[in-house]
């Protein structure tokens, strides 16, 4: 079954090439992308099943034996991440297709959208599967370069401005990562993660701390951890709604995944655990205070995104199986929910003509379907029982309480406070955008449809969105699918927690990973 492992990387890359050849044939492009991503979901699900039953699956790329060649490893953590991200990317793709068709720009001008989107998926999958530090860097670069293109789509003034910050900050983090890789290679003579396990253990303590610090810094920027998070709320909201959604769901989580992987596999023992806990607390509280102060739905959601990264770091910083397991569960939950909320925000922008809270109102009456699509994931994010956000937070609180340290208790308190403030921020959006009387500037349903038809093809991809257009069915359906997926997480929470606990155990024991790559012991 191990031949399945490279497919989540290879298929989107081939799909990207194919869609690039099909430029100008929007219909064919759409079908290729959907087929490829649907196949990726299926492969990822198979990988999850196999890795749960038989342990990690390993492929030596090109047939080169392990320490010489690059390995791809699908253990439970990687497979779980793959399943969730593939499902989410598929839903977002359908949403963006719905948006493109509704705007009537079948050909214009974004023939690059599909190829870039598939390359992004390939990069994300590569980062999850990589069993080699340099290959992880390549995966990051693939997804980042694709994200630069997606973020500056249409190259309007606003997007260029936001894109500049994003590109420069990402470049800096990549450089730090690259330097760390150079130093690690110089110190150990290998970059294979499984081989690094022993060799890093043999290094002097101070050197290890430097290497660990550099990796944490690089991944911290990508994951938007508090002092390094300023770029995120500025750059994400300017992108088209589906792009923001997929970035919010996946990109920061790849950073979190990299932190989990390196902190458990390469640098166990929790020397930076206290630092991580402090950063987690700051990320949670500062992030959510930012969200409370916002008056635009997209920016507000970006701040909640930063804030909730803190929950995942909380779990990682505890360095117990319980904490890690809860963190993994929380990552799965957050990928789904944050993406759903951004998609719903995109629908709000379509219906209300804006995402600024002072220009919205009465959406609950004007568009009950939209209200439900926003309300359910919003409560889920805030952690209202019985949604998965509640279960994830309960897991983290349990882990914190059983740890019992002062810092852990402080984080439990911080986590509950953040949850409460998230509810406040979300309730504010609900009151202003959905419950109060409709704003006088709000477009009537149908206004925008006519406007969109008359402007027709010159209209750049969703910028500005044709205000007041009735919600396109495909967009609503894909958002609804993600809402249902989010609710499904509650239903399958039991088995999901089992998987995440297994994954956390394997991560802490380290041996299963090393044995899978080197059945005869590391050279």
């Amino acid at each position: 079954m191990s031949w399945l492992v490279p497919l989540p990387v290879v298929m989107p890359l081939f799909g990207a090439a194919l869609t690039l050849l099909l430029v100008g044939r929007a219909r064919a492009q759409r079908w290729v992308s959907i087929t490829v991503l649907a196949a990726t979901v299926a492969v990822a699900a198979l990988l999850l099943v196999r890795s749960t039953l038989d342990g990690p699956l390993v492929v030596e790329v090109g047939g080169w034996v392990a320490p010489l060649g690059i390995v791809l490893v699908a253990d439970q953590l990687a497979a779980l991440m793959l399943v969730v991200s593939a499902a989410v990317t598929l839903c977002v793709l359908v949403y963006s297709i719905g948006q493109g068709m509704a705007d009537g720009n079948e050909e214009t001008p974004l023939s690059v959208y599909h190829p870039t989107y598939l390359v992004l998926t390939a990069g994300v999958c590569n980062a999850f599967l990589s069993g080699d530090l340099f290959n992880l860097y390549v995966g990051f670069e693939i997804l980042l370069v694709a994200s630069y293109v997606l973020l500056t789509l249409g190259s309007t003034e606003n997007r260029i401005r936001a894109g500049t910050t994003y590109v420069v900050v990402s470049l800096l983090s990549s450089l730090i990562f690259l330097v760390a890789i150079g130093l690690i290679y110089a110190a150990t003579g290998t970059l294979n993660l499984a081989q690094l396990v022993d060799r890093l253990d043999a290094l002097p303590d101070d050197l290890r701390l430097v290497l660990q610090g550099m990796l944490l810094l690089a991944f911290g920027i990508k994951a938007a951890v508090f002092p390094l998070s300023a770029w995120l709320p500025d750059s994400y909201p300017t992108a088209p709604a589906p792009v923001t959604a997929v970035f919010a769901g996946l990109l920061t989580k790849v950073g979190v995944y990299a932190i989990i992987r390196t902190e458990t596999l390469l640098f166990p023992g929790g020397r930076t655990a206290d630092l991580l806990l402090v950063i987690a607390a700051l990320t949670m509280v500062v992030g959510i205070l930012g969200a409370v102060a916002q008056s635009d739905i997209k920016r507000l959601l970006s701040f909640t995104l930063v804030s909730h990264i803190g929950y995942m770091l909380f779990g990682v910083g505890l360095t117990t199986a319980l904490g890690l397991s809860a963190a993994i569960f929380y990552v799965v939950h957050h990928i789904t929910i944050q993406t759903t909320l951004f998609l719903a925000a995109g629908l709000v922008e379509r219906r209300g003509g804006s995402t600024a809270l002072d220009r919205l109102g009465g959406l609950a009456r004007l568009s009950p379907v939209l209200a439900v699509l926003f309300f359910v994931p919003a409560l889920n994010l805030a952690g209202i029982p019985p949604f998965s956000g509640f279960l994830g937070k309960v897991g983290l609180v349990q882990a914190g309480v059983s740890d019992g340290g002062v810092l852990a208790w402080a984080l439990v308190a911080g986590g509950l406070l953040t949850s409460l403030l998230t509810l406040y921020a979300i309730a504010r959006v609900w009151n202003l955008a959905f419950w109060r009387a409709p704003h006088p500037d709000m477009p009537e349903p149908g206004d925008g449809v006519r406007a969109a038809r008359t402007e027709g093809a010159e209209q750049p991809h969703d910028d500005p969105a044709p205000a007041g257009a009735a919600l396109p069915r495909l967009m609503t359906a894909s958002t609804a699918a993600l809402v249902v997926l989010g609710l499904g997480l509650t239903v399958v929470a039991g088995p999901l927690f089992d998987i995440s606990t297994d994954a956390a155990d394997d991560l802490l024991r380290r041996a299963p990973y090393v044995e899978a790559v080197f059945p005869g012991g590391a050279p």
């Binding site: 340099f134 390549v138 670069e141 370069v145 630069y148 293109v149 500056t152 190259s155 003034e157 260029i160 401005r161 894109g163 500049t164 910050t165 590109v167 420069v168 470049l171 800096l172 450089l175 690259l178 330097v179 890789i181 150079g182 130093l183 290679y185 110089a186 970059l191 300023a230 709320p233 500025d234 102060a293 008056s295 920016r299 600024a356 809270l357 002072d358 220009r359 109102g361 009456r365 504010r428 009151n431 202003l432 419950w435 109060r436 009387a437 409709p438 704003h439 006088p440 500037d441």
Partner: protein, 153 residues
Amino acid sequence: MSPNLVYVVVVGVLFATGVTLLLERSLTRVLMGVILLGNGANLLLLTGGRAGGPPIVGTTAEEEMADPLPQAMVLTAIVITLGMTAFLLALAYRSWHLNGHDEVQDDVEDRRIMVLAERDEGPGTADPETVDPVPARAPDGRRVAAGDPGRTR
């Protein structure tokens, strides 16, 4: 292996100049900074492996071979840097096209807070909860006067 002093000094100088340029406002200079930093990082990667003859079996004795892995990594990194340089150039050009300059601009939020601070008003004044959009429209489309008790928020 023991690192070569010349290498280390060159890497240091490249990093220092790169960081200085990265802190500039003009995107073109930032780009120069990124290129210098990238080259510094590539050289640093190279110092990680052993220097020696071409690593091809039959041409060099095994103990005199150079370590090929850092070279392979540097090649990859060079390609990535090249792509990034092209993209940043395009960004800078587009920014110049749109604004007449290529300077990295402030965060929108930062600028708003700055303007408010200059006017000596708290950021709270822009809050939609305190500035209610009047007149709101009643369900039947009739304008409702401010302060009307029937108005819902």
